[in-house]
Amino acid sequence: MLANQIGHYSLFLGFFFSIIIIPISIKNYNNKNQIIDNKIFSISFFQFFFVLVSFFGLILSFVNSDFSNETVFNNSHTTKPLFYKISGTWGNHEGSLLLWLLVLTLFIFVFLIKSNKQPKKYRILTLLFQQVIIIGFFLFLLKTSNPFNYLFPIPKEGLGLNPILQDPALAIHPPILYLGYVGSSIIFSSSLAAVVEKHISKIWAKHIKVWILVSWVFLTLGIMLGSIWAYYELGWGGFWFWDPVENVSLMPWFCLTALLHCILVLEKRLLLISWTVILSIATFMLSMSGTFLVRSGILNSVHTFANDPERGIFILIFLFTLIFFSLFIFFVFHKHNSQEIAKTFWLSKETSILFNNWFLMYFLSVVLIGTVYPIFLEVLSGEKISVGSPFYHKLIIPFLIPFLIFMSIGPNLNWIKSEIKKIKIQIILSFIIALIISFLILSKIGLVGLINTILITVAFYLFFMTIKDFFSKKFNNYSQNFSHFGFSLLILSILFNSILSSEKIVNLKVGEEFSFREETITFESIENIKNKNYKSIIGNFKIKDKKNNSIQLKPELRVYNQPLTITSEADIKTTLYYDKFLVMNVVKDYEYFNVRYQVKPFMIWVWISTILLVVGGCLSLFRRSYEK
C-alpha cells in the first residue's frame, strides 16, 4: 500500500521537475555565462531520482503482491517466484513505459554530466529537446497508462503473468532493449541541438559516437536475448521468424548500424553531415514507431499487453508531432556549409562506408515495407495478408553478397584515396583461400544452390580478411575488426545452420520409438511433478545413435494454473557442433504426444558471433576512454 502511494506521488513529483527545468534552462541558455547553472544539474537529478523511486515503488508493490494496485493485480500472482514478480514489473504495458521513462531521465542526466567539454548552449538545447520527449512520456503514462491505479475492494489474488514470459532471458530482454531504444533519443536530441547551434564538427562526432556505440551495443544484445528466448520457448526451433514484432526491433538496428559507420566519416572527414542528422532522426523515429506498433495492438503478439485504442492514438499523435518538429528544425536551421572541399576518390574508405549505408538502407526498406504493407492493405482494402520469410530471404540474401565483399575490402582502404596496386595481393590471396575452403566444404555437404555457394565463399572471404587483419602490424582497429569478424561468423553459422538443419515431427504414444537418420529416439516414460505455480509433465526420451551412444532429453509441458496455460519447454543438448532440440506438445484429450526433434548444426555459434559483434562495440568504447 505504502510503496504504491510513494510510487504514485513521486511520479507526479518527477513530472513537476521535468516541467520546471524548462524555464530555468531557457533562462540559462540566454544569459552570457559559459557554464551550466548547477540548479539544472540538480533538477535533472531529481527528475531521475523521483522516477527511480516511483519505479522501485512499483517493484515493491509487485514483490509484496499488493493487489490494490491495478497493474499488479492484472500481471502478478502470489504463487509466482520472486524473480518473476520483479521482472513482472516491466512485463506489462504500464510498467514497461515507466521503465522507458526511467531510462530517458537517466540518460539525460548522464549526458549533462558527461558532455562538459561541449559548448553550453548545445548542452542545454539537447536537454530541452530531451525534455520534450520526457514530458510526452510523462503525459502518456499519467493520462492513459498510469501504473499506480487503485483498485477497491482489494482483490485477494492477481490474474498472473503470461507464463510464456516467465523466463530468465525474457526477464532481462526489455530493460536491455530499452537501453538501446532510449539511447537513440539522446542521439536524436543532440543532433537536433547540434544542427540548431551549428555545432556539427569532428569534436561533436567523437562525442556523440559514444552514445551511438552504447545504444548499438544494448540494442544488439536486446535483440539477441529476444531471439534466444524465441528459440527455446516458442518450440519452433528457429530463432528468427520475421515476425512484425521482431522486425520493429531490427529496423532501428539497421539505422543505428548505418549511423555508427557514417559517424566515422563525419569524425574523420566532416562529410555526410546532413545524412548523419537524418539517420539520427530516423533511428529514434523507428524506435518510437516500434513502440507504437507493438503497444497499440496493431500487431498481435505476446508483446501486446492491452488493446486500448486511446494509447495507440496518443503515441501516433506524439510520433507525428516529433517527426514534424524534427523535420522543421532540420530544414530551417540546417545550412550546408562546405568549407572543406570534399575530395574523395572512388576507391576509399568513405565510398565503402557509403555502400555499407546504401545496403543497410535497402535492408531497412525491405523490412519496413514487409512489416507495414499488410497493415496498410488491411486498413485500405480489408484484405488480410501476411508476409512470410520467403519474401525477406529472397530480397535480402542476394544483396548480402556485395555487402560482405565491401565489408571485407572497406576497412583495408585508406581515407580519401587508395592505391589499387597496393592492396591487390592480400585481397586476392584471401579470396583464393576462401574459395578453396568453401569448395572443400561444399564437396562434403553437397550442392546448396548458386546463391548460397557464393554467399558461403564471400562470408569465408570476410572471415579470412578479418583474421589476416588481426595479425597485420600496422592495423590496430581491433574493435572494428572484432565486430566484422563476428559478423562473418554470424553469417556463416546462420547459413550452415539453415542448410544443414534437419527435423522430424511425429505423433507418439509413451513407449513408442521412431528413427531419424542414424538415430533411434525412444519415448520411455512420462512423469508428473507439482511445482509452486505449475504442474509439469516431463517426457523421458532416449536418443541412441548407431554407435550405441545415448543421451537423455527431457522436454517438459507446463500447465500453469494462473492464468491457465500450457507451455512447452524444449530440452536442448548443446555442443559446439550442433544442438539437439526436442519439444513435445499435447493434443487435448488424446494419448498422442506431438513430438518434434531437430538437429541444428552450429546453433551456439549464432549466439557466440553476436556476442563477438557486441564485444567489438564495447572494445571501441573502452579504447575511447583509454585515449582520453
Partner: protein, 139 residues
C-alpha cells in the same frame, strides 16, 4: 557548362534515385509473389478458381473431427457455415483443440480439402488471432 562538382553531385543524386526506384520496384514485385492471403471456409467455397498459392484458413476446429495417426493429423475447420477438411503432418501448438480457434497455413487441393504445412500457435488461452475473431464475428 557546369562545374565538375555540380556534375558529380548530379551524377550522385541520379544514382541514389535510380537505386531507390530499383529497390522499391524489386520489393513490391516480390511482395506480390510472396504474400499469403487469409480466408475463411465460406470465402473458400466462393472462390472462382483454385490456384497453387499458399493461403491461410482460419476458423474453429470442429468437434469430434480430430483424428491422429503417427504421421498425420486430420481435422475440419469450420466457420459454422462451411467446412474445410485439413490434413497436416507437423507440430501442433499446445492450445490446438476441438472447439478452439485455429489458423492453418498451406495449400488448397480443392474447395474442401486443404494440405496444411503450418498451424499457428496461440500464445495463451485468452488470445485469439484477430483473423479468427473477425471471421467468427461475421457470422
Amino acid at each position: 557548362m557546369y562545374g565538375k562538382k555540380v556534375k558529380l553531385r548530379i551524377l550522385f543524386l541520379f544514382l541514389v534515385l535510380a537505386s531507390i526506384i530499383l529497390s522499391v520496384y524489386l520489393i513490391l514485385k516480390s511482395l506480390e509473389e510472396n504474400v499469403v492471403y487469409f480466408l475463411s471456409p465460406t470465402e473458400i467455397k466462393n472462390l472462382t478458381e483454385i490456384n497453387s498459392n499458399k493461403i491461410r484458413i482460419g476458423g474453429m476446429v470442429k468437434n469430434k473431427s480430430v483424428k491422429i495417426k503417427p504421421k498425420k493429423i486430420s481435422f475440419i475447420i469450420t466457420d459454422f457455415k462451411n467446412e474445410v477438411n485439413v490434413s497436416y503432418s507437423g507440430s501442433v501448438p499446445n492450445l490446438f483443440a476441438e472447439g478452439k480457434g485455429v489458423v492453418a497455413e498451406g495449400y488448397l487441393k480443392d474447395r474442401s480439402y486443404f494440405n496444411a504445412v503450418k498451424i499457428l500457435a496461440k500464445h495463451d488461452e485468452n488470445y485469439m488471432p484477430p483473423e479468427i475473431k473477425e471471421a467468427l464475428g461475421d457470422n
